[in-house]
Symmetry: C2
Subunit: 392 residues, 2 copies
DNA sequence: CTGTTAGCGCCTTCAT
DNA sequence: ATGAAGGCGCTAACAG
């Protein structure tokens, strides 16, 4: 849906050869395996395994939870019995008794933007081998919704939580405290050290980017950003831009700033507005790659050349940006590392091991073809460059 | 990591201003809220709510599960008590007693490829309002691993399952049957009607694409695909290409076929091999957009112009492909619709309502700038076009 | 090292 | 329309 707007040509073939509409209400061939409602099968219980192995249920439990306490022979016998019966312990009963479900919840803004999916994937890779499962929820940048889904996950006995961002409803923290659930915030690192967190310095990221652009000679900046309300990443990134400009004796003209949803079309629309200004910026900073690529689309459409007429930068260093022509200058943010570190953090907490409550991970400026000195001020840019060069 | 290889320039700033390494082992300020291991808080139980509302626990249970059976006044009183105590029912206890956890599991190949994340997101959007949570697992295209994580999810009391693809370990189905778990397969529709499934005709998709390319005048085809073992989508898409060619009296030269992981760099490497052939193809079909965009990267690098020198097509119609220059001709696959339909399907099954066990969704050819008639055979292409035109 | 016993928190009959 | 009581399957505590 999103992408269709970029079609160069769309002949609009549709539903070709997709076979006859085969949603037969009845069932010509008898309904398939495991069809009906809930078969309520007689699943094997620990008691069955115990009987088959000639031991007590307690021993079965020990084989599962502390195999070191069990005689090797018994261990083997029990394991054999478990395999024979295809026994899987009843998670709900375990959770009820042991106050541990071995499930970790990740509450993220959205999957439409691939970033969180990658972080989540990194978490899962760490959790799965340890026997933990990952339960997911999205809140679409809506704080009340975040609270609601978190409550649902607590109710589903999730042991520990991962959240994106530092800004959350205070009730959320109250809830987590009430139910004694450990959690990590992520993406940023809590400056007040009130909540465990793992992330990077969002402000420093755009600060460095802006400094680089100033050094190229840019003086008139545009900003395309997510709405900052309840979104500390967006807020911090905006501050980074403004403070770098301030330090260079410049200012961000608020007419060159647009806020909107993280969506290519929306970003393109925002960029069109900037291009229509009397005095458009010579560089546009997107607070992530989606904004930046959306801006590129608008420029292509308008015949604005990148980077000759306009420089564009993003944040996150996604494939989406990296594969554009020209490649998008961006910031590699440690999204995979955040997921890994967060998962390890939570496991450690759950297992009572000590952890670093605050972890700051590095980011990295990645310069590609979408940035260059502004056309109108090539002289200034050269000057600026020659002035910064000795500084390194 | 992936993307860094495409850097046009990478000055390699690294870890700028990320603050001091602040992983203080001790804790200067006293550790933050909900820090330690597992506080084992005294969470409110149904009994507490019952006492506060002056009713029995049975009534509390009814308020939650069948509010219609409860007197409005009592209902209100109980709800008030629940709110006051921030009571959340204990999911594990519920699941143990009621044989229903209200969790649905999605077992997908990977999140690195954004597609599955979007489908999953669509599922979550349907599930959440109904009080279901989504539990996720990845298997990275490894069937034994799929079996393992599924077992883990069954053990975690997941009620129903979503799987990607039609080809699975037979043991998987045995397990699901043993534990009476409903499931849907997805992406394709089971031709043998053995397993409930919702998807589209993968074979027809590439069949149509190939027909279109043949009609442009192409005779020499290349194919970039995921390894077909245990991956029915890849298998079917390959068959679609071959059968369309066969129908046109053509053949797929196996020297023009490369299999590899779904990864931009890998795809670029495969494309380089095709370009190095004595007689390279005039068109390359990627079985998804990642292969196609990877191929584009290799072409740019080699100075091969698209579509003048080579046409390229993908499948999935992702933003990644749509935003390339030129835009990637692709096939819009119904990934969001699959997620929605699958979630609705599973909920219906869990609630004992009747469902369509087999749903075929439409796909759509999206033609953009990456395809054109082959240079060497413009005449033939024109001819072909004029011949097909009256047919529609 | 292994068995016995009790109960986690809730839902579900069965009464009333 | 509401209450009383048993037990879901497992593990923790205690014996032996």
């Amino acid at each position: 849906m999103k992408s269709n707007t970029f079609n160069v040509v769309n002949r609009g073939f549709s539903n070709i050869d997709a076979g006859p509409p085969d949603d037969d209400p009845g069932a010509p061939p008898p309904p398939a395996g495991a069809a009906g409602g809930v078969p309520e099968t007689q699943r094997p219980r620990a008691k069955d395994v115990a009987r088959l192995a000639g031991v007590s249920t307690a021993t079965v439990s020990r084989v599962i939870n502390s195999p070191l306490l069990v005689e090797p022979d018994t261990l083997l016998a029990v394991r054999e019995a478990m395999a024979k019966l295809r026994y899987l312990p009843h998670g709900a009963a375990r959770a009820l008794r042991s106050h541990r479900s071995h499930m970790v919840g990740a509450v993220v803004p959205s999957f439409d933007y691939a970033l969180y999916a990658r972080t989540t994937s990194a978490m899962q890779a760490v959790l799965e081998p340890k026997g933990y499962s990952l339960v997911l929820a999205e809140h679409h940048y809506d704080l009340p919704s975040e609270l609601r889904v978190t409550a649902q996950l607590i109710s589903h006995a999730v042991d520990a939580f991962f959240f994106v961002g530092l800004a959350h409803d205070p009730t959320l923290f109250a809830l987590l405290a009430d139910y004694g659930r450990p959690y990590v915030l992520s993406w940023g690192v809590d400056p007040l050290r009130q909540h465990p967190s793992v992330g990077f310095d969002n402000r420093a990221a755009t600060y460095e980017m802006t400094r680089y652009l100033v050094s190229l000679g840019h003086r008139r900046f545009g900003l395309l950003s997510a709405r900052p309300e309840g979104n500390d990443r967006a807020t911090e990134r905006g501050i980074g831009v403004r403070s770098a400009l301030a330090q260079a004796g410049l200012e961000l003209d608020e007419r060159c700033v647009r806020y909107g949803p993280i969506d290519l079309n929306a970003a393109a629309a925002m960029m069109r507005e900037l291009l229509a200004l009397d005095e458009p910026p010579t560089v546009v900073i997107g607070t992530n790659d989606v904004f930046a690529v959306g801006a590129m689309l608008a420029c292509r459409e308008a015949g604005v050349r990148i980077p000759e007429d306009l420089s564009i930068t993003g944040v996150d260093n996604t494939d989406l940006g990296a594969t554009q022509t020209p490649g998008l200058t961006s910031i590699r943010t440690p999204i995979v590392e955040i997921g890994q570190a967060a998962a390890q953090h939570l496991i450690a907490r759950l297992e009572g091991r000590p952890v670093n409550l605050f972890q700051t991970l590095p980011f990295e400026l990645v310069i590609r073809g979408s940035t260059a000195a502004p056309r109108s001020s090539a002289g200034i840019a050269a000057l600026a460059r020659s002035r910064t060069a000795p500084t390194r």
